[in-house]
Symmetry: C2
Subunit: 200 residues, 2 copies
């Protein structure tokens, strides 16, 4: 049978919403229906907020995070440790690391990972910008990229480049997630946890 | 430690998005970041689509579904069985029932369920509108409300009201979801499945 529903403008809206990360088709339908049913004033408010966000938010000229103003809050903050830069794949990772409360240095988003298969080369990433920032009294670069083939390759590439400048390069420890059961950990995680074992 | 992130306009956007059904805070963050990072032209397009949806879509004057135009596609369709009305809690349920391909009659959204605890009384729902439609040659009303305390109470209330008009009232069968394992079914579902057992 033909699925006649939802088509037209409602169908378009569902399709657009389903492109959001982590939103499947069924969730997109629920969201689209709830937006439309909540009425014109709610749609107006949301649309106004989107437009406000569009004009007020841009990328920080230094770290690449989403920022109100040319330079973000963290890059402007004189109380932060300005000798450390933590390199992340994308701005959302900054949020996660900030939440840990463990790090008080600066950040730098690469906006991607080196991935020859997807045609992403080092020059497509914000690596040149990173190197310029490193020359400005940075003592340690902490690489916090995903534990994946691309993440590891990008980490190695960066480490080679940065070490030439006599700057310490570290990366996040890989191992068992805290609170997890060891029997549910995958083989690669356990391998990494063993390789990174520390003396007690 | 203070969570400084995300605040300001980005924080507002995350908060608004987290109000969408089924979207938690972390998903809202991912969605908000992806919207902002996708750039002004994508935001423009999405915002334009929202505004188009706002002006083009309204509630069908008959069934209450979301509709382009005063009367929706299903209510206008002369090929549908106009002697049957399927009563649902909300328009999204119409989508699910249409997908089953099993039903070719009309629909009616109550826009809620009777719930004394939440102060929702019969007169708060689209019951008056339903009764008017039933007087127009309807032979069967299929009640397709949630299998919950409120759903059952509303079904009973409607059945009493409709039977007085000499119209057949049926409701969806409750039982085991197709493809499920019986050992995972909850006690209430099994109870309903037993009560609704049919001779083979």
């Amino acid at each position: 049978m033909d699925v006649i529903y939802p088509r037209g403008i409602l169908g378009q809206l569902v399709k657009e919403i389903s492109k959001f990360p982590g939103v499947g088709l069924r969730s997109a339908e629920r969201i689209a229906y709830s937006i439309i049913l909540s009425g014109p004033s709610r749609i107006n408010e949301f649309s106004a907020l989107l437009n406000k966000a569009k004009s007020a938010l841009s990328r920080c000229k230094l770290c690449g995070d989403i920022s109100e103003g040319e330079i973000c809050q963290i890059c402007r903050d004189e109380k932060r440790d300005r000798t450390k830069i933590c390199v992340v794949r994308e701005p959302l990772a900054i949020l996660s690391i900030e939440r840990s409360g463990e790090y008080r240095g600066l950040y730098h988003s690469l906006d991607g990972l080196i991935s020859p298969l997807d045609g992403i080369k080092p020059e497509d990433l914000r690596i040149g910008e990173l190197m310029k920032r490193i020359d400005d009294n940075i003592e340690e670069v902490i690489i916090a990229l995903d534990p994946s083939v691309e993440g590891d390759a990008t980490s190695m590439y960066l480490a080679d480049l940065i070490k030439k400048r006599d700057v310490m390069v570290t990366r996040l420890a890989y191992g068992l997630p805290v609170g997890s059961d060891i029997e549910y950990a995958d083989a690669t995680t356990i391998r990494r946890a063993l390789q990174g074992r520390q003396e007690l």
